[in-house]
């Protein structure tokens, strides 16, 4: 029914706007780039955007509920530091030990080879998910507002990261780094699948960068089912009208905990990729803060209301893309990087203003202050 399509479109104006904006500026970028529309440029962009896109998705879930998560950048950094120990892929295996308060604890040995790498990635994602669960538990059972609860837990996560990596360092398996941060063709030849990437049916897709594929897969396999689960809808319901959600008999506490846990998982994906991409772990505090703030900006640009209830993680991916593409422009037009925050700020302001237009329709001005 065309009528229903029109309704859907009207309800998703912020998202559609973000999508259109991204298409326009990204096309302009490629037109202006000397090697525009090449796989090499796409791969580079994909690597630069993946971590922020994941952290933005992580931020989206609490924001939909009407909260903010200030720990996403720190959580991502913590997982990054863990990964720098667990993904070395050393053939003889990786001995794991912990020196804490004069004690030397031996935690066993991570097996070598692919099995070890796979296990290491699972452990990294589990740590991040657990940290998200902690966030949710503190918010729900501590009855603390998300913004202050996650400010505190974020400091703890960055503290753990610093404990793990007082200086940048660590090592990531070279093949893993190569396979994850290049095109699908490179992935296939490294993994020795699809005739090393030469299978005739595969070659038309060989140019696609792995990070973009990962983003699409995570969005489709994790986010979409969550969005269409009862708990996922409860998250939207809480952000829309928490009282009404409670009165409708929804399980508010469970939804909140799941929301933060899912955020932890998304941020962990980002941290894992950052470690693989940089082949090291770095407990970089300013970088963690920048990721948190940019994640909020991405969420807003992507069409999710900070008041909660409307939007989604796919929009946030495009929000992150827009934010990054703006910075790509500075490279090709050779504009001083110092001007970058200024332009990013203007774009953010413009995006937020669109969301504020609804205020003009409010007839009872007292409602503006509730």
């Amino acid at each position: 029914m065309p009528n229903n399509l029109a309704i859907r479109l009207r309800q998703n104006i912020p998202f559609v706007t973000a999508l259109a904006l991204f298409c326009v500026i990204y096309s302009l970028y490629h037109l202006a780039h000397p090697k525009g529309f090449s796989s090499a440029v796409l791969v580079q962009n994909g690597n630069e955007v993946f971590t922020l896109a994941m952290v933005a998705m992580a931020q989206t879930v609490p924001v939909l509920m009407g909260g903010l998560d200030l720990s996403v950048g720190a959580l991502m950094t913590m997982v990054d530091c863990f990964a720098s120990y667990l993904l070395s892929g050393a053939a003889e295996g990786t001995p794991l030990s912990l020196d804490l308060a004069g004690l030397h604890l031996t935690l066993g040995t991570l097996p070598g080879g692919m099995a070890g790498i796979g296990l290491g990635m699972i452990i990294c994602l589990a740590i991040g998910t657990l940290a998200g669960l902690v966030n949710g538990a503190v918010v729900v059972y501590g009855r603390i507002q998300p913004i202050i609860a996650t400010l505190a837990t974020g400091a703890i996560y960055i503290g753990i990261a610093l404990f793990l990596r007082p200086q940048p360092g660590g090592k990531i398996d070279d093949d893993l780094n190569w396979a994850m941060t290049n095109s699908l063709g490179d992935f296939a030849s490294t993994a020795h699948i699809f005739d090393d990437g030469a299978a005739p049916w595969f070659t038309p897709f060989a140019w696609i960068p792995v990070p973009f594929v990962l983003l699409a897969v995570i969005a489709l396999v994790v986010w979409v089912p969550f969005r269409r689960s009862v708990t996922g809808r409860a998250v939207y319901a809480i952000g829309s009208a928490e009282g009404a959600a409670y009165m409708s008999g929804l399980n508010i506490n469970r939804a909140k905990i799941v929301a933060f846990t899912l955020g932890g998982f998304f941020a962990a994906c980002g941290g894992l990729f950052l470690a693989i991409e940089t082949s090291s772990g770095n407990a970089d505090i300013p970088q963690a803060g920048a990721y948190t703030l940019n994640s909020i900006a991405s969420v807003v640009i992507g069409g999710t209301s900070l008041l909660g209830g409307t939007g989604g993680a796919v929009g946030s991916i495009f929000g992150a893309l827009i934010l990054r593409v703006i910075s790509f422009f500075f490279r090709i037009f050779d504009i001083a990087p110092l001007l970058q925050p200024l332009f990013e700020g203007i774009i953010l302001l413009a995006a937020v203003s669109i969301g504020a237009l609804r205020v003009l329709r409010v007839k009872n001005t007292l409602e503006l202050f509730r």
Binding site: R228, S229, Y236, A244, S248, G249, N364, T365
Partner: protein, 517 residues
């Protein structure tokens, strides 16, 4: 298990509930049966809302027990009550505005496919339920936010229906509906009755009781007064049961004098389908009451006069000059001079963590300042004067206003506005939740302010107060002024009859006779 019609489904015994010092329900016994529509009647504050909240698991009772089909139950939250088949349609809607109609209707138990919500099946389910309540015109994909209020209420009813209720509770569910929709709801209730559902119907509308109810129960001051079958009591008798007898309160004498020239003149004021054709005069030195049932537009009218609402039509004159304040900041300016003591003192009246001084001075800072700076000496003198004038009990002026008792907090709100020396004083239920002693002080103060030349518009949910304090009372119904009562016509029987929109002649006179008997 299907019990026969007429069998008791819900039995409450000895239910009590207190909120602070207020006894909302006092040792209430109540039962309602399957296959019956049971009306619950009572004045504002009679305890009806608390009763529903306890049945629906929103608040736990302090004492007493609740049985369903003979089994003792205690619900810790609305979800538990919903599982037991108790479904409530609340006055404040329980819809999530950002979710679609289909999402809202199936919020608890959506149809699923491969573990995920099946959007198509959910939409069909919504369409079917909307058709059942006669609302085929609502597209289930629309967001609730984009529907008009009357449609939202119908969606709420469809949502309740989808939960397959054993006991359906409707709290003033028809108040926002159009006449055509009301007919549809009546037909639906009749059908549910045939299907052996127990229905509790809370209403203020007498004609609804006559049209719908099989039985009716009257509540007053938190007590269950009487339950009777359809036709056992006349409308007048029911009104009398609702009024009961009240403790006499002392009110200051009203001066007998001709009606003064209007200081505030409202002509044909309207706003957003919520207020229409309102014309009212308030003279200098006059106290005019606003009465009627809760939520008939009284608060909205006060907000419109105070410049809070956008798009107000009609004409407002203050001392002969047409005014149209665009904000409270403009409304309080000396040329207009309107003050509003708002509905909720904790959120709209006071900045709770700030000091008594700060709260008192906040509305009149321009006159207490020299240039951009607040003049500490001026401020202190003005605040001290206000405190002694209203006899506000404070330990130190620098204490946070949250440390004061409810009555003293309300005095701070009133004193804060008196410091702006207003000509027009709008009071929004100023005695709600404060003790009897402070109430009497406020009554004297209101009269004193009028005697000094202020025009006072006084909204109260307490009819007794309106009779005792006001020279005239305008009764509002459905966003309009239904009737103005003054002199000997200003009595409780007339107020209630007007508030319930019963024909002025017959019902009111009968009720008066019953009151004398």
């Amino acid at each position: 298990m299907t019990a026969a019609a007429g069998a008791d489904f819900l039995v409450l015994s000895g239910i009590s509930k207190r909120y602070g010092g207020v006894r909302a329900l006092d040792n209430v016994d109540f039962r309602c049966a399957r296959g019956q529509i049971h009306a619950v009647l009572g004045e504002n504050g009679a305890g009806k809302s608390t009763l529903i909240k306890i049945i629906a698991g929103v608040v736990p009772p302090d004492a007493g027990e609740l049985r369903l089909d003979g089994t003792l139950r205690a619900f810790s939250n609305p979800a538990a009550a919903a599982v037991a088949g108790i479904v409530c349609i609340f006055q404040e809607l329980s819809l999530m505005p950002d979710l679609s109609v289909a999402d809202n209707i199936s919020i608890l138990t959506p149809p699923r496919r491969f573990g995920m919500i099946d959007n198509r099946a959910q939409r069909r389910r919504a369409e079917a339920l909307l058709a059942e309540v006669g609302c085929e015109d609502v597209n289930p994909l629309l967001r609730v936010r984009d529907l008009p209020l009357s449609r939202r209420q119908m969606v709420e009813i469809a949502k309740a229906l989808g939960q397959k209720p054993q006991l359906l509770i409707l709290d003033e569910a028809t108040s926002a509906l159009t006449r055509a929709d009301v007919e549809k709801v009546y037909a639906l209730l009749a059908r549910l009755k045939m299907e052996n559902v127990a229905i509790l119907y809370i209403t203020h509308r007498m004609h609804e009781v006559e049209a719908l109810a099989d039985r009716a129960s009257v509540f007053r001051n938190g007590r269950h007064i009487e339950t009777f079958d359809k036709g056992a009591r006349s409308t007048a008798e029911i009104v009398q049961l609702m009024i009961g007898r009240d403790i006499a309160t002392q009110y200051p004498p009203k001066p007998a004098r001709p009606r003064p020239a209007p200081a505030l003149k409202i002509e044909n004021l309207g706003w957003d389908n919520r207020l229409a054709g309102i014309s009212l005069d308030v003279g200098a030195g006059e106290v005019v009451g606003l009465g009627g049932l809760d939520g008939q537009g009284q608060r909205t009218l006060l907000l419109a006069l105070f410049g809070v609402l956008r798009g107000v039509s009609g004409r407002v004159t203050v001392n002969g000059r047409a005014v149209r304040p665009g904000s409270p900041a403009q409304a309080k300016m000396r040329e207009i001079g309107i003050a509003l003591v708002p509905e909720d003192r904790k959120t709209e009246g006071l900045m709770l963590p700030m000091s008594v001084t700060d709260n008192l001075a906040i509305a009149s800072l321009p006159s207490l300042s020299t240039g951009p700076f607040v003049d500490g000496g001026k401020e202190k003198r003005a605040v001290d004067a206000a405190i002694s004038r209203l006899r506000i009990r404070v330990a130190a002026n620098s204490d946070a206003v949250s440390t004061l008792s409810g009555g003293n907090q309300q005095k701070v709100v009133i004193a804060k506005w008196l410091m702006t020396e207003p000509r027009i004083i709008l009071l929004n239920d100023p005695t709600r939740g404060i003790d009897v002693g402070t109430k009497q002080e406020l009554y004297r103060l209101v009269r004193e302010l009028a005697d000094q030349g202020a025009a006072v518009l006084f909204y109260s949910t307490d009819y007794d107060e309106l009779i005792g304090c006001c020279d005239r009372v305008a009764i509002m119904y459905d966003g309009r002024i239904l009737r103005e009562l003054a002199g000997d016509d200003l009595n409780e029987t007339n107020i209630i009859a007007s508030a319930l929109n019963i024909e002025p002649g017959a019902g009111a006179a009968d009720a008066g006779k019953a009151a004398d008997a």
